[in-house]
Subunit: 383 residues, 2 copies
């Protein structure tokens, strides 16, 4: 179960010494063809890391042969030197593989603002390239930062396979930048078809996994298609498989989010539009008071209303319903008799909010609680 | 130094038993005239507490004789019963004072979604009204919830005085709703003049004190003018005095914010507009990763850039400067050699960010760190 399960993909990993721990920190994923189709989505942050700038350019023609991943250093906010280092990394890989530099993507994750140790990459890349094989699992390990477990997925398509790996402890990580995903498939699929499937899936998976509203400088989701199965799925089938893989990886990220003790699924309905519902769900998912209440297993629905009331969404101030784990705690913006006794002691909490507009707009956002461990991870150990 | 220092104001406080602790939880502020001019600003939340709805109506004519405060219960999200209880509270006060019901404002702060214990208010209001005198300090104590100290201010105007009291541990409090301020002055000032001074001052004080972006259902700032000094200040002088009082109370709130170990002042400059600068400063002030870094005294400027990059503000991605305590840690979006060694161990931290647009837009936001104590206060003890 990994990115090397689909036909046409090999991978390798190694320890270049970027991570002080000596753990593996370099991964190479290669598409051996016959097709080299690709699509990607990137962070919405205005400040983007050098590898994001490079990969955006290299994927513009819909073609990629390889992706080099490094963890331990984001190569973000390093000025012209960062751009130069990203380009040299791609050049080193292209030389090893005998492909065009413009067919190599680069993804980095780790501390922002530290120059990439190019001497270590120069020394390590040939060895990693020499070890290419069915080593998807090793690659999935090498891209981790504060993640505690590797995140892999394999989905069966109709006559083809789609594998994936990801890293990211929520949509954010402490001074570590952050969510990277690589999907591989042996389906025959054009860059346009891949792009369409990816955008649809990302919109309802990674883009609704909102741990604290922080968005990194490095987020990159890439899909590579080798066509080696010889099977060209209908767009609908491709969409289904890509969505299944993204849903699975997003759930793994939510479960491994920093300091998480609760997984909270927020459903907003009764909104005028889906966009209104999404805005309200995001505002609630980012509200620290609400997140602290979830940590305390506290059915404090007043915090839900206080947060929702600040959303840029049409709502009926006197007509909001709130359910915790499907029990009504607030109806028509007033508490129910047993609201305070709802049991939220379990790990998974479902919060459902109806904005009372009578509209059909709805959205789901996945978030976590705000715990002592989150504060600890993001303060005590960060530098 | 209190709201009863200006001529024409008396106050009283008492323990109605709304707070389980038995501490004082009821305060009455009365303007004995000769003028009864007033102005107010309220929460921007779409979900507003019953006392906010009532006070908005009663202050519409620019006139108030008294404000009744209770702590321990927000009277928010209680439906029609909440509206009825707020109205009855005002009626009880008017009967004691012999004034119009429509000249009584009501402010509540405390738990959302619990009915106001009207039997306790009915029993306590006559006693409180009977004890009216120069008891501003007692009133300032009675409005507190999770605040650890009372917050009072007295500003000398040119021939008149302005007193104030406030409560609020940041712009938010745990299931407690939240920021209330009462300003009193013996200046001769029209409701229009008061409103103008208040809006100007609130915009650059309370509205830029942003502990976590949470906005309560009850926030109310009221200013009352008795005219008893006989002095009518120029608008400019009134503005100055109101601003000084609001600045002072806002600083007291920041210092007492929940779980605070650091007071962080964020200045954004080099923005295209002041609005852009304010947006960027707010986004940074609400970023949990940045706030955790402040808690850890960690000069992690990468988090500043990652947060600023998500602001709805024009910026130069390659031209951002960041200063911690006036030391440059990032110039042109790249780290300075000594960036990681800047000392942030003190209680006050100044963060200055230049967005690099060359514009003159600037803004200041005051925030705090995100500490273990914040999580503790807002999870373990909330219900």
């Amino acid at each position: 179960m990994s990115i090397t399960a689909p036909q046409g993909f090999i991978a390798a990993a190694g320890a270049a010494g970027i991570k002080p721990s000596g753990k593996s920190d370099l991964a190479l994923v290669v598409n051996t063809g016959p097709h080299h189709h690709a699509a990607a989505t990137f962070t919405r942050n205005k400040i983007v890391a050098s590898p994001v700038k490079l990969t955006r350019r290299h994927i513009a023609d819909g073609s990629l042969s390889a992706v080099l991943y490094n963890s331990g250093n984001a190569n973000a906010c390093n000025g012209a030197q960062g751009d130069h280092d990203a380009a040299e990394s791609a050049t080193l890989v292209a030389a090893e593989l005998g492909c065009e530099v413009s067919d190599v993507a680069v993804c980095s994750t780790g501390l922002i603002g530290e120059p990439l140790p190019m001497d270590k990459l120069r020394a390590a890349i040939p060895g990693v390239a020499g070890g290419l094989g069915p080593h998807g699992a090793a690659a999935a390990e090498a891209i981790l930062t504060t993640d505690t477990v590797a995140k892999e997925v394999l989905v069966d398509g109709d006559g083809f396979l789609l594998g994936g790996m990801g890293k990211g402890v929520g949509m954010m990580a402490p001074s570590l930048a952050t969510m990277l995903v690589c999907l591989t498939t042996d389906a025959v699929a054009s860059p346009h078809a891949l792009n369409q499937a990816l955008l649809k899936a990302v919109g309802v998976t990674f883009n609704t996994l909102d741990i604290d509203g922080s968005t990194s400088t490095n987020d990159t989701v890439i899909i590579l298609a080798s066509g080696a199965s010889g099977v060209m799925p209908e767009q609908e089938e491709l969409d289904r498989v890509v969505l299944a893989a993204c849903e699975n990886l997003a759930a793994q990220m939510q479960a491994d989010a920093e300091g998480v003790t609760k997984r909270v699924t927020i459903t907003v309905e009764g909104a005028r539009t889906d966009a209104d519902a999404l805005n309200a769900a995001r505002v609630l998912g980012r509200d620290n008071l609400f997140k602290c209440a979830m940590f305390g297993s506290d059915p404090n629905w007043g915090r839900v209303l206080a947060a929702i009331g600040m959303a840029e969404a049409e709502l009926d101030p006197d007509g909001i319903d709130v359910y915790f784990n499907d029990e009504a705690v607030c109806l028509g913006s007033a508490g129910t008799p047993n609201a305070r006794s709802v049991d939220l002691s379990g790990t998974d909490i479902a919060v459902r909010v109806n904005l009372g507009t009578g509209g059909a707009g709805t959205a789901v956002v996945r978030t976590t609680d705000l715990s002592h461990a989150y504060v600890e991870i993001n303060s005590a150990y960060s530098s």
